[in-house]
Symmetry: C2
């Protein structure tokens, strides 16, 4: 009798045995897109640096204009220069004067507001102002766009385009990001000959790359426990973790189990989910070795339901939020009581409503369900499925089309 | 008076003038992750190729077992071989015989079902079967995992991990993907000196990379219409499109407008959105030249609200679905009637509810709003904003945390 763990029990048990992982590498900020920051970074500057015009107009002292009205137009002398964006010379005005300024220009000394160009009448070297203007009107004050001490990014956050921009302007040239690498071992004597091509490897590799990992090794192992063990130990030293594909089922061979259980500080063997029931995780030297099915739908189920939360919690990675939509089931879907079900669906529009069609054929090996589908629903252990017409929440992994 | 277009009018008008774009490049399937397929690809194979065991057990003729029961156990002779996964030799059984088979093994000739190992009693060279077994039970039939002719991927779909896997196993070595490149010109005399660093470039570059574009050129242009024009023409020939940052506002200079309007087949100047009002798009040689503000929040607004739908419709790119959540506004937010508002928010959990805090300070230049926030709401033209307590839909671009 094989006692399977629930997903939550498995995660809690494994996380208590995994060592803290804090390996970081230094990269150029401009090359850091989509990596995970290894620490908090704060702004070292104020933006704008000085009060800045947010419109094209005239830099004035607002006190000069406090009584301006149509009946009481105020005349200000326009000094002879136009302050351009970013210009740093020391300009200044006195009461009764103004300077023409472009959007992005720094205000001259004593000026505290900008009158938009369209609100003044220019006559000779004077402008006529007929409405009051508030202090700091059309002015961006130092720190308004970015303040010294602002958190730019937290530990484990993905570096997105605005982070690159902000780190760069805030004088960071290099930053520390989490060093995340994994290697994949695919097992199976069937791949010793050349007629069968292993392909689930590339699904796993792509999934890991999408989650910020570099995969530099994909190696084969025969169905041999010592070979699996040796390859795992060899690769684990240089990588954040190792995934072993295939050989996970409880048959006559137990290749992976026999190879790894003796050297594990802790392990979870088998999880109450379908597909992916054979998912097993061994903690070796404080790192996880994830053993999953070589069949693609089962492998994706393990990656989405176990590996993502495990990596997220262990490595403190804040993965991108998953897009979710609610859709109406166009067909009944069943699930085995006591197992979490990873059910692939095709979500489509019909008559302005979103429907989800369960893709059930082909089981653990079904590539069809992955490529014909665009999302999945997760049916909890305590449910036996849903009826046609019920509204379900779908995690979307592809775009939604009109029904064919 | 500057007449601004609505987003939808701008898109429709531009799309009618853009040439069809069909430049593809050939890449190795294994290097194609996250590129956009340039055509439909169909499966050229059936998976499994032959009927395959989905459990460890015994391959039998189901007709042999049609009367099996506890009272009428059926004995089958176990031939001496174990069929392993992927093994291709020509095995066969006759009535009264069976062969031990592993998960993934191809059924021997005449067998049409697999009795799971845990459901039989082995005695000597015979197994005893005490329940009936249906035809094809525990068998995956040819094409069930992937059928010849199945659509693997459509034109414009993003190549995800399961597509790589499926294309690879379906005998595609190289495929055609859309060749998508862009270049960025940033304008401004303020960058002639070395004290001001242009940084919005990297936001735009990262955003385009996230959308599948390669950016190999980021060049500077002075605030000079002929220089802008010449650089645009030089770069446009080699790239899918060009983005010009800065110089888009309607001031005294109109640098970009003066440089490009004369050589445009069509253009839209100014769009009713905030920030990003100065967004202008010129169609030159059937390609778009997108002129946007050099300020980061305005630039992101243009990219999200104009550039993404434009590229998606023009190039037939099916971008990844955006994650959206509903959240309660914790503060009133206002918007200018007649303008679509791109309002950055910070979404957070408090008491098991999702709240959205509008980040309003700093205007078009606000990097703060981008890095302190994790999403945005789009307020339509006809609304003047929303009250505190209203539920709004947020497009999420970062992870959600507990309120600090």
């Amino acid at each position: 009798m094989w006692i399977l763990s629930s997903i939550e029990d498995a995660l809690n048990s494994l996380l208590s045995a995994l060592n803290e992982y804090s390996i970081a590498k230094e990269v150029n900020v401009l090359d850091s897109l989509h990596m995970f920051s290894a620490k908090k970074y704060f702004s070292k500057i104020n933006l704008p640096q000085y009060p800045k015009a947010t419109m094209d107009g005239y830099a004035v002292m607002s006190s000069d204009c406090s009584n301006a009205s149509l009946n009481n137009p105020i005349l200000l002398k326009v000094l002879s220069h136009v302050i351009k964006s970013g210009e740093k010379k020391d300009f200044s005005i006195k009461s009764g004067e103004c300077l023409k300024i472009e959007t992005g220009g720094f205000l001259p000394k004593n000026a505290d507001a900008v009158v938009p160009i369209e609100d003044v009448i220019l006559s000779g070297s004077y402008i006529e102002i007929t409405t009051t203007i508030g202090k700091y009107e059309n002015v961006s004050l130092p720190g308004e766009e970015l303040k010294e001490g602002d958190i730019i990014i937290g530990e484990g956050d993905i570096i997105r385009p605005w982070h690159v921009s902000t780190l760069y302007v805030s004088e960071y040239e290099k930053i520390l990001v989490k060093k995340l690498t994994a290697s994949i071992i695919y097992t199976g004597d069937e791949f010793n000959n050349t007629t069968l091509k292993p392909y689930t490897n590339y699904l796993v590799k792509g999934w890991l790359e999408e989650h910020g990992f570099t995969i530099d090794k994909i190696v084969h192992s025969k169905d041999d426990s010592s070979e699996v063990k040796n390859k795992v130990l060899e690769l684990l030293g240089n990588h954040t973790f190792v995934i072993v594909l295939g050989g996970s089922s409880k048959g006559d061979y137990d290749t992976v189990f026999n190879g790894l259980q003796g050297i594990s500080e802790k392990y979870v063997r088998g999880i109450r989910m379908k597909p992916g029931k054979t998912t097993s995780i061994y903690v070796i030297d404080g790192k996880p070795v994830v053993s999953i099915s070589g069949l693609p739908a089962a492998a994706l189920s393990s990656l989405e339901l176990i590996v993502r939360p495990l990596l997220s919690r262990w490595l403190k990675l804040k993965f991108s939020p998953l897009p979710r939509v609610k859709a109406i089931l166009n067909r009944r879907v069943t699930s085995k009581l006591g197992y979490v079900s990873f059910t692939r669906v095709r979500v489509f529009w019909r008559d302005n409503k979103l429907y989800a069609e369960p893709l059930v054929g082909g089981g653990s090996g079904s590539l069809r369900s992955l490529v014909l589908g665009n999302g999945y629903i997760v049916i909890p252990e305590e449910d036996e499925g849903y009826d046609k017409g019920e509204v379900v929440e779908v995690v979307l992994y592809g775009s939604i089309k009109e029904d064919l």
